[in-house]
Amino acid sequence: MNDPLLVLLIGGPLAAALLLALLPGLRPEPARLLTLLVTLATFAASLPLLATDAGGGMTHGFDAPWIAEFGIRFSLGVDGIAAPLVVLTTLLMPLVVLASYGHVHDRVRQYGVLLLAMEAGMIGVFAAQDLVLFYVFFEMSLVPLYLLIGVYGGARRTYAALKFFLFTVAGSLPLLLAILWLVQRAGSADLAVLKQLPLAPGEQGWLFAAFAAAFCVKVPLVPLHTWLPDAHVEAPTGGSVILAGVTLKMGTYGLLRFCLPLFPDASVRHAPLLLALAVIGILYGALLAWAQKDLKKIIAYSSVSHLGFVVLGLFAVQTTAASGAVLQMVNHGLSTGALFLLIGMIYERAHTRQLADFGGLARTMPRFAVCLVLATLSSIGVPGLNGFVGEFLILIGTWRDHPVAAGCASVGVLLGAIYMLGLVKGLLFGPIVHPKTATWRDLNSRELLLLAPLFALMFAIGFAPKALLDRIEPPVQRMLEAPRLVQERR
Amino acid sequence: MLSERTAFLIFSVIALIGAVNVITRRHPVHAALWLVGTFLGVAGLFLTLGAGLLGAIQVMVYAGAIMVLFLFVILLLNLDAPPDEGLSFARGASLLAAVATLALIALPLARAPELRAAATPESPVADASAGQVANVLFTRYALPFEVVSLLLLIAMVGAIHLARRPRRDETV
């Protein structure tokens, strides 16, 4: 029953990346065009993933022996949780390539190679059903991003890239140890087998800690988040969109896919700690975002706050909350992606990211104003748009068992509004500040085409999330079975 | 004919005195000559042990070739005795070296009692004459023999290349 679709989705971009890498003579424009075509093709190919619904089970499975003696298999498969994230990745990629027309002018071919390699890595992460395969893709997707930030970034790019790399790798070392321990004990790295593995509470404790460490760095959860603002500020627009849109989701996806089902007792035991960190993340992130001067930093810290919500939803061990969390992962990808694209567009024109330098853009750039307001509304969770549905489900789910945490978190919703509207007022309303404001032309059709799909999805999810939620809920239910039992007993 | 024991004593005395002087003499040429003395002492010891071929080769190669090379280098470089040379880096190192030698002597004896056995029987078991050495050399140790020859070739090429005075068009 091997379905080659997923292999195609991963292999396609990878092969294209290789091809591009091996054609030094290729001029920039055709190279960029090729990248765009490949990413679009991958997106088109990834759509059926959403269509099929196997009641929470694994679809498009592909299984082949890889390292036989350790029982490690090259097995791919996608369920309700992974499918939306894969489609999100394949959706964002073409947009990033389109955006790169504006600001990437030299080394375009290498830019394409890095993007395609990253896309392959990320799809692999979401599609891997084998623990070791997951780890391989987890690391593989890291390198292109490091290079992307390191080569195409801003002033302090090397510092930021290195910091990002070191944080993630340091986090993923305990993960590697834990994986090796698990595979050695279970004799196979397949997820299904590992789920049935009886683990002693003490053992489960440190394994959970190791897994959680790697994923919390990636989320990023509060104490381990300092790499994110630097990485975002220095990353090129494309890099930021991918970093915020997909890379952060790997952390939360990992928590849901591996931590909760594999180590139910430890997860429930550590749930209060993680909930507390999530709430701190939400409030602390929001506060920091409010105190920032740099546009990208504000959005970066808002990501910390939004993903705090997602972690809150996951560790409330409630199907409603967890489904809301998965939905929020997708939403955050859309809204923050749009915001970063918009900031990229402004940066292309003004070459400064300090909020104080801007003012009264609404008059000269109405289209930009409308898009920015829309993206902001989605980000702060105004009902009618996607952000609200996710946050609402997370909070209503969390309230059942942890009313205090949900209460504090909902204050985060308020703080979110404060700094985002501050951003919008600083940029769009009030008197004109920047001398050259008049010279900046409004968004051209390319840029609008870029944002259109994101806004369309925002409204779609905002008004009718049922389609997506029905696809997400069964697998989440399945993931949370074990922790739910532990929760009940407690 | 002199008894072997006395020959052993004479030659070992020569060797040891030579060795002491090699490291104490300040002038390199003197050190070199004393070293020649040590080599001859050791060659004598080889003879007392019946290894005639080895003794000859020792003299021929060590004393004859290697030391001449040393002398050549010393003379060519026209080295004179550095002023305050002597036993520099004094206390620590020599102390350590003394400990080392003691260890080398004491430990094996302490550990291997059979070594302390009385003198072995007088009659020489079998002399290591050139023929026997040749038999062993070309049968049992044929491969090392070839390898050593290769090593010598490489050493020769290396030495020539390194020591060659750079021609005008080359820079060091």
Binding site: - | M1, L2, E4, A7, V29, H30, L33, V36, G44, L47, T48, G52, L53, G55, A56, I57, V59, M60, A63, G64, A65, M67, V68, L71, F72, L75, L76, D127, S129, A130, G131, Q132, A134
Partner: protein, 367 residues
């Protein structure tokens, strides 16, 4: 004074070298004295002969004033050597300055210990091999001592504390080392050919016995070997055409310019002793030593037979010495770089070729 001391040491080393011979001490002493005596007599004769022959070759008379026809000239030289003032330049390491000539002399003299003058002498029931120390490593000892000889010259050059002598010393030792190489390999050729001996030892007497039994001298088997060996010996003893180091105009006498009286005499002695030893080794290896083809020396019973062998051996050696002297006054002197080039690029390959030829000869057993 140091010279005499040096001579004494020479004797003990000769004694100690071949301990394997289990003969009574006094017999060993007599043999040493006999060998030492023969050498010491040949050397002054050689000096005289050299001057007479060179003069004869150049249509001049040569020394004929002292004694009958100049026969006592060597005595005169010796007396001159002994009583001249011993000069020593300042800044010279005293011991080394004196030791250098001694080393040269010792090495040359000790070589004779290994050379068999004759067969075995039956005297009141005891058969005495007519060799000082028929050492198992025989020929190798010759090589070893010749390499030690280099020290004498090098130190001599260095100890006299002057640039010219230093350079002269270095050049001569370099020359000796280079030719020692081809000497060794040529020697190998002989050993390979006469390798039919069983115990694989290097005894000269066995080589001679082999030549005697097989009826043909090695010179017939290895003509190339013979030529190479002689050239190498010429180089070893710094004889013309290779006596460049001391004769070079700019080097003014080479390493023994600073030496005077007896030290110079020792150098002189060393050189001529080396010639004697060299020629005797050549005779043993290539010209059948004390063996004379048509005169069945073994047949002659009693001491007379041994004496005949010694006589035959001495005759050959003297003939060869004559050849030495003859060459000196016929061939021109080689320049230093030609000399080195000849030694490395011609002599060495040829000796390897000779070794090959000897190998083939031994393997195929021609004769």
């Amino acid at each position: 004074m140091t010279a005499l001391l040096a001579a004494g040491i020479a004797v003990t080393t000769a004694l100690a070298a071949p301990p394997a011979a289990a003969e009574p001490a006094w017999l060993m002493l007599i043999k040493v004295l006999v060998a030492f005596g023969i050498t010491m007599t040949i050397v002054p004769l050689l000096v005289l002969a050299e001057r007479r022959v060179s003069a004869w070759m150049q249509y001049r008379v040569g020394p004929n004033r002292v004694g009958i026809g100049g026969s006592l000239q060597p005595m005169a030289d010796l007396v001159k050597m002994l009583f001249k003032e011993e000069l020593r330049p300042d800044g010279v390491p005293p011991f080394l300055f004196g030791a250098a000539p001694a080393i040269a002399a010792i090495c040359s003299l000790s070589m004779m210990a290994v050379v068999p003058f004759g067969g075995t002498l039956e005297l009141d029931g005891r058969s005495i091999p007519l060799v000082v120390a028929d050492a198992d490593i025989g020929v190798l000892a010759v090589l070893a001592l010749s390499s030690i000889g280099v020290y004498g010259i090098t130190l001599g050059g260095w100890a006299s504390n002057s640039k010219y002598s230093l350079l002269g010393g270095l050049r001569s030792s370099a020359q000796m080392i280079s030719y020692e190489l081809s000497l060794g390999i040529a020697l190998l050729g002989v050993l390979v050919v006469s390798g039919s001996f069983e115990s694989g030892s290097f005894r000269l007497s066995e080589i001679i016995r082999f030549q005697a039994e097989s009826g043909a001298w090695n010179v017939l088997r290895l003509p190339l070997g013979f030529a190479l060996f002689t050239i190498a010996v010429f180089a070893e003893t710094n004889r013309l055409p290779f006596d460049l180091p001391e004769a070079e105009p700019e080097l003014v006498g080479g390493y023994h310019t600073e030496y005077s009286s007896m030290r110079f005499g020792l150098f002189f002695l060393g050189e001529y002793a080396a010639m004697v030893a060299g020629s005797s080794v050549i005779v043993c290896l290539f010209l059948g030593g004390w063996h004379c083809p048509w005169l069945a020396t073994e047949a002659v019973v009693g001491p007379g037979g041994a004496l005949v062998q010694v006589a035959v051996f001495l005759a050959k050696v003297l003939a060869f010495l004559f050849f030495f002297i003859h060459v000196r006054w016929t061939l021109p002197r080689l320049r230093y770089d030609q000399l080195m080039k000849f030694g490395w690029t011609w002599l060495l390959p040829l000796s390897l070729l000779n070794l090959l030829w000897a190998g083939a000869h031994a393997a195929l057993g021609w004769f």
